[in-house]
Symmetry: C2
Subunit: 127 residues, 2 copies
DNA sequence: GTGTTTGCAAACAATTTGCAGAATT
DNA sequence: AATTCTGCAAATTGTTTGCAAACAC
C-alpha cells in the first residue's frame, strides 16, 4: 500500500529546495512555489515536506525560533544560527563522531546520533 | 523601571523546577503547580518562565517535538532525547569548547556558543 | 498610592487533518 | 477503475497578549 504518485507540486518543492542553502520555512517555500502554482495550498506544502522528510530527501531543522526549517542536504552536518538576523547556515565541517563516544561514556542510554547548533553573528551582520 | 516584585506563583514555579531533571514543558509545569495553586493560569506560567529565562534562572530547550522545555540547570550542558519515549535527559559531560574553534575554521561568521543534542534510546526504554 | 503580577479570555502562529474533487497510474 | 494527491477550510497545539482586578512594596 502507498505507492508514490507523481505530483507537479511536490516536484516544484523539491526543485525549489534544491537550489537553496538558506533552510527556508514551510511558509517561505509556500510563498515562492505560489509564483509558479498560485493555487497551491499551505497544507500541500506541509504534507509534501513531511513526505519528503520520511523519504529521506530533505531534513527538518528546528532551531527554536518557532518555525521548522527544511534542508535539501540530508548528509549529517552542523548548523549555525545568527542571533542578529536569525539566518541559518551550514557549518562546513564533518560532525565529530567521537562526540558520541564521549557522551556515551557516562550516560546509561544508547546514543545513536547527534546534532549541533552554533550561535553567533553571521558575516553579513558583522559587516 | 521594572523593579521585580515577589509572587508566590513564580516562587512555586522555581521551586517545582528546582527539584526536576526531566526538563518539563510549560504545560506539565502548569498541571503540577495547579495542585498548590488551583487558580494559576497557563499564561502566568508562560510569563514567569520567560521572565526566569531572561533572569538567567532557567534555560529554555527546544528539542523539536513541538513544545519548549525548561531546565533549572543553567550551566552549559548537552542534552539527550529518547526516540522511543521522548524523554529529555542531561548528558553528564563538559561541552567541548574546541568544537567552536573547529567550526570557526572554515566559517565566516563569528561563533559565540553552541549546543548539542544526542538521540538514541534511554536506559529505561532499553529495559 | 504606584507599579507589578495575576486570571481570564481572546488572539496568534505553526502545523495538521477531513473531505470531495482533480490528477496520476 | 483504483488510488494518490490537492485545495480548501476547519481543527489542533503551543504560546502570547489585553485588560481589569489583586497583590507587593
Amino acid at each position: 500500500m502507498g505507492a508514490l504518485k507523481y505530483s507537479r507540486q511536490r516536484e516544484s518543492i523539491k526543485e525549489f529546495l534544491a537550489g537553496r542553502r538558506d533552510h527556508p520555512t514551510a511558509d517561505v517555500i509556500y510563498m515562492n512555489i505560489r509564483r509558479s502554482y498560485p493555487n497551491i495550498s499551505l497544507g500541500t506544502v506541509y504534507r509534501n515536506l513531511s513526505l519528503l522528510e520520511s523519504l529521506g530527501e530533505v531534513q527538518r531543522i528546528s532551531c527554536g525560533d518557532g518555525a521548522e526549517r527544511f534542508d535539501p542536504n540530508t548528509e549529517r552536518h552542523y548548523h549555525f544560527v545568527c542571533r542578529q538576523c536569525g539566518c541559518v547556515q551550514d557549518i562546513p565541517m564533518l560532525p565529530l563522531e567521537e562526540l558520541e563516544a564521549m557522551a556515551s561514556e557516562s550516560f546509561e542510554g544508547s546514543i545513536e546520533s547527534h546534532t549541533a547548533m552554533f550561535y553567533g553573528v553571521c558575516s553579513r551582520c558583522r559587516g
